[in-house]
């Protein structure tokens, strides 16, 4: 268990974060319907990413029984995503919405999701001292965001292990991307530099069966 601005944060193996103080489950960057997004251009990626992402979300909801699920933006790969959803996937989403209140924070991929989606819509929101938004901001005081799809790598015994990760700094938490087709961006990439000055951050690497806390300087 970690803390951000005195609030308990529990990173999960699924890539979600559980905030028991608010009974809130946070996930970022599901990118639902990414598989189908280029279909009309003749790129026919497997159309199973939405069900994989929703199944993982449903499992996390069953595990934590949250009052609310906050989706930190880029929940759909584009605003037309909900329309392309298969009937089965739509049913799966509604089943989740029956168990917890859904809050759709808008992201750069889905700035304007249709109101027909179950739950509330929001640009950003406050949870006690915390600000929740899609894109991390440089001057954040206590912020939880997504957007960057953080990943980290170590080399051990001649083998490189690279995984998605949570990034924790004194003033922020960045969540890994939750979706099935979402790649990762190395925390050493310059996009992170203004957000993580120096090596004063830690990562929680998401292994297959366990999480691993490492200081930022340990990461390649």
């Amino acid at each position: 268990m970690m803390q951000l601005a005195g609030i308990h944060v529990h990173p999960c193996l699924s890539g979600a974060a559980w905030l028991p103080d608010y009974e809130a489950l946070l996930v970022a960057d599901l990118h639902l319907e990414k598989g189908s997004s280029r279909a009309r251009f003749g790129v026919h990626l497997p159309p199973y990413d939405t069900r994989a992402g929703l199944a993982a979300l449903a499992a996390a909801v069953n595990r934590w029984q949250p009052g609310r699920v906050i989706l930190l933006g880029d929940s759909f790969h584009d605003d037309d995503g909900p329309e392309r959803m298969d009937a089965g996937d739509r049913a799966a989403l509604e089943a989740i919405a029956k168990k917890a209140e859904l809050i759709w924070v808008s992201g750069n991929h889905d700035p304007d999701l249709p109101a027909s989606l179950p739950g509330q819509h929001s640009r950003e929101l406050a949870l006690g001292p915390l600000t929740l938004r899609h894109e991390p901001t440089v001057k954040a005081v206590a912020e939880i965001a997504g957007h960057l799809h953080p990943a980290a790598a170590i080399v051990r015994r001649g083998r490189k292990v690279r995984t998605k990760c949570f990034v924790l700094a004194p003033n922020r938490l960045i969540l890994p991307a939750f979706g099935a087709f979402t790649g990762g961006l190395d925390v050493r990439h310059e996009a992170f530099r203004p957000l993580l000055p120096g090596d004063a951050f830690r990562v929680v690497m998401v292994g297959r069966s366990s999480l691993h806390l490492l200081p930022g300087r340990a990461v390649l």
């Binding site: 199973y48 051990r156 340990a218």
Partner: protein
């Protein structure tokens, strides 16, 4: 010279004028196989020519077309298509051919077309085609799909396929075979000429060339074979006063003798198996190059301009030796090579024969070759290869068959060419030899995959790439798809490469990181190699010791250092497994001490001590030794089935040993043996019946165990990525944008995971599995091996390591240890840093 023709004995054939006169004027005689080829093709036959390098093979292939063109056929559209696997060769061949054509004053126009040919020239070739077009397999696919292909190929009479032995076993060969099936429809009766080095089964190439229309009846092309008169002269280097290494691949012990051999030769080609070996050897040779002999380096990672420079210097005769990899296996003769040196294991008989043939520049004289084993096992392998070479035994791969990803690419290409009827296309495709056994069901699934992705969830019907027409034909849904197909055509999928650039360094100013910026490009390396390096690590590349300074985007910035010993010893690339045939010969040799006469004394001693301390298995047996060492327990087995199959076996054995409670910790392997180590006492477990070797090595490991491992396997993911790109599921490029390899890898892995979880029987997963089984996983060979050793396992419990086990045991620590426990590695790293944190906290200054 011994000369043999297949179906008709036409050695009395005379060439018509002006060809006969042209030969006579130069004091030359047409070679018998050149005449035979002419006679065969003039009689309307297709033919396969097998001839060694330097046998006038290219001219033999062209003669029939030149004669036909000289007899009033020139200037009437494209007559002959000549396909070479090497882009660089196309231009050279066109130039070489122009000489005789000009000297005979023939009105024949010859042009080359490759990916590098400028657009305006390609356009002219389209509107005003040459008589002979020299090109690559990829270009044939593109030409076949272009608008007006019917007209363009209407007068095509002949297609000549060079280096067919190298093309046919590859996916490029499959794509070419499909394109030829299409050409046959546009130009019925097309004559096919195959030019090949010696192969194990010429009949499969003869069949490959021909349209196969009736199931069960194999059409064969005529066969012409020319043999070099002289047997190759092969020596195995064994410096008597040097200690023969137990393991390793660098052959440094033999360096002075090797240098001496180079000095004696006029021009030597020094072949190695991997780029790292080439780099290392080149580096070491220069440290003792007291005579300052001009010795150059040539391998696939070096910058193209640098390679061309070396080739030109070879041709000009200004070099004494070139250290190279398989990049010089194929191609025209660049110089007066009179000695071929092969450093390291020969790996296969055909492979070594071909390399030796590179010294065959004077056709009737023996090729001189020097084999340099780098360790004791390689001595046995070299002996086996020498024996195989004298017997003329070939063991190269046969033609590739039924590559599904290639099929998908071709089907879309056919739609780009115009609407097609599935029945007609099925008949056309199954007339290509590699696809003669394609079932209609498999074909229909391929069409479905091309159109909508072939998913059980019918999500993409409305985005189908192929739309049905009222007459039952299918047409391309949108012209944009044609453009995307053209950009992605071909079967060569490069590993993600980084450019190695010299970067200048600037002192860091006020907390800013080190600045580096672009200097000269030295070449390219695989991304994974660079990923294992930290800034400051040194490695050998392009013959120099380099220090890694920074990695930015797709560039690895390096600086030169004065260090002589690089920290990172090697990077792999091009490791071929030991061929089944040669492995069989090595097993035979081990089993028969009477055959050890030619072995160096040190090697004989080694084997004799093995016989005394442990066992030398019979040729049909597999020896398993178990012994304790340094509080661990080892199992070493000797299948001799090549590194790839051993790696897969190692993965599967550790799973099974884990289940048997033996607590395995890791394994390493080489081409000959595999060593697994455990916490528990293996000898004891076998003796008391707790562990059964027969069960451990049972063939059923290829079922669930293999399946479970594949879910995680990086090798499987790499194979899938290649299939997905060739099949068009992932785009390499699209108009106006080029996707970097890095982004692609991520998505290919994720696609693999998702597809495997939700539709494990998907058509493309099947394609990838078939590829991996004969490729990186080598499950096919593992299956043969498990069947072979069933009931023939000899177990020898020992108190200590045996002589035969030493080489593979020495690999421990040199090679990464295989395993799947990524989480374990992460936990270890986290633990270390925990204690590191405490150290930091407790430090007083």
């Amino acid at each position: 010279m011994d000369e043999r023709t297949g179906q008709t004995g036409e050695s009395r054939t005379r060439l018509p004028e002006p060809f006969a006169e042209w030969f006579a004027a130069r004091g030359w005689q047409p070679r018998p196989h050149q005449l035979s080829m002419y006679a065969q093709v003039a009689a309307g036959n297709s033919a396969l020519l097998i001839a060694p390098t330097g046998g006038g093979k290219t001219l033999a292939g062209f003669l029939p077309s030149l004669v036909e063109l000289s007899q009033g056929r020139a200037g009437k559209g494209l007559h002959t298509l000549y396909v070479s696997p090497l882009k660089a060769l196309a231009v050279d061949i066109a130039r070489n051919l122009e000489t005789p054509v000009a000297e005979m004053g023939l009105p024949i126009r010859i042009e080359a077309r490759t990916g590098d040919t400028p657009a305006h020239k390609r356009q002219r070739q389209k509107t005003n085609p040459p008589d002979i077009l020299i090109t690559t397999p990829e270009q044939v696919s593109l030409l076949m799909a272009q608008e007006g292909a019917e007209h363009y190929f209407a007068n095509l009479r002949t297609i000549i396929l060079d280096e067919l032995h190298a093309l046919a076993p590859s996916k490029r060969g499959c794509l070419l075979a499909l394109a030829i099936a299409r050409l046959e429809r546009l130009a019925p009766g097309l004559k096919r000429i195959g030019l090949s080095a010696t192969v194990a089964e010429p009949d499969s190439l003869r069949a490959w060339l021909m349209p196969q229309r009736e199931p069960g009846v194999e059409e064969l092309a005529s066969f012409v074979e020319a043999r070099g008169g002289a047997e190759p002269d092969i020596t195995i280097l064994s410096p008597p006063n040097e200690r023969m290494p137990w393991s390793g691949h660098s052959a440094v012990y033999a360096l002075p003798a090797l240098y001496e051999a180079v000095k004696q030769a006029h021009m030597a080609l020094v072949f190695t198996n991997t780029r790292s070996q080439a780099e290392r050897l080149f580096h070491e040779l220069w440290t003792i190059n007291e005579d300052a002999l001009p010795i150059a380096l040539h391998h696939g990672s070096l910058d193209v301009s640098q390679r061309r420079k070396v080739e030109a210097a070879m041709a000009a005769g200004s070099l004494r030796a070139v250290v190279c990899t398989s990049t010089l296996d194929l191609g025209i003769d660049w110089g007066d090579v009179d000695l071929v040196i092969n450093v390291g294991a020969p790996k296969g008989s055909s492979r070594i024969l071909q390399r030796i043939g590179r010294a065959n520049h004077r056709y009737d004289e023996p090729s001189r070759a020097l084999l340099v084993p780098a360790n004791r096992f390689e001595v046995l392998e070299c002996e086996a290869a020498r024996a195989a070479a004298f017997a003329g035994a070939q063991d190269g791969e046969g033609p590739a068959e039924l590559k599904r990803d290639v099929l998908a690419q071709h089907i879309l290409g056919c739609a780009v060419a115009g609407p097609f009827h599935p029945d007609a296309l099925y008949a056309e495709i199954t007339s290509a030899w590699p696809y003669r056994n394609l079932t209609r069901e498999d074909f229909d699934q391929a069409v479905e995959f091309v159109s909508t992705g072939g998913y059980a969830l019918k999500a993409y019907e409305r985005y189908a790439k192929l739309k049905p027409m009222p007459d039952g034909r299918l047409r391309l849904a949108h012209p944009r798809l044609a453009q995307a197909w053209r950009m992605n055509a071909g079967t060569i999928v490069e590993a993600e490469m980084l450019k190695v650039r010299l970067g200048s360094r600037r002192k860091s100013s006020a907390g800013r990181p080190l600045q580096t910026w672009g200097g000269k490009v030295l070449g390219e390396v695989e991304e994974w190699f660079v990923e294992q390096l930290s800034v400051g690590d040194t490695f050998l590349f392009a013959g120099q010791v380099l220090r890694l300074e920074a990695v930015e985007e797709l560039n690895a910035y390096v600086s030169r250092t004065s260090d002589t010993d690089p920290m990172i010893p090697s990077y792999q690339g091009g490791k071929f497994p030991l061929s089944t045939y040669l492995a069989g010969r090595v097993r035979q040799m081990l089993a028969e001490p009477s055959s050890w006469g030619s072995l160096p004394e040190q090697v004989r001693d080694w084997l004799n001590v093995q016989r005394w301390k442990s066992v030398l298995p019979r040729a049909d047996e597999m020896l398993v030794e178990t012994f304790p060492r340094a509080s661990k327990h080892y199992l070493v087995c000797y299948p001799f089935d090549g590194r790839l199959a051993h790696q897969t076996l190692g993965m599967l054995l550790t799973r099974r040993l884990e289940r048997a409670g033996m607590k395995p910790l890791g394994f390493v392997c080489n081409d000959y043996a595999l060593s697994v180590w455990c916490v528990r006492d293996l000898s004891l477990a076998i003796e008391t019946g707790h562990l059964s070797l027969a069960q451990l090595f049972d063939e059923d490991m290829l079922g669930d165990d293999l399946d479970a491992w594949l879910a995680e396997s990086m090798l499987m993911k790499r194979t899938f990525r290649t299939c997905a790109i060739i099949a068009g599921l992932i785009e390499r490029r699209w108009p106006g944008q080029e996707k970097s390899g890095r982004q692609m890898t991520v998505s290919a892995d994720l696609i693999y995971d998702v597809l495997r979880a939700h539709q494990p029987d998907h058509w493309l997963l099947k394609a990838a599995w078939d590829d991996a089984a004969s490729g990186l996983i080598d499950a096919r060979r593992l299956a043969q091996m498990l069947a072979r050793i069933s009931g023939h396992i000899v177990h020898k419990p020992l108190d200590a390591v045996s002589p035969l086990a030493v080489p593979v045991m020495l690999e421990i620590g040199r090679e990464p240890v295989y395993g799947e426990a990524n989480d374990a590695l992460l936990a270890e790293a986290a633990r270390d840093h925990e204690s590191g944190l405490i150290d930091d906290a407790m430090r007083l200054v």
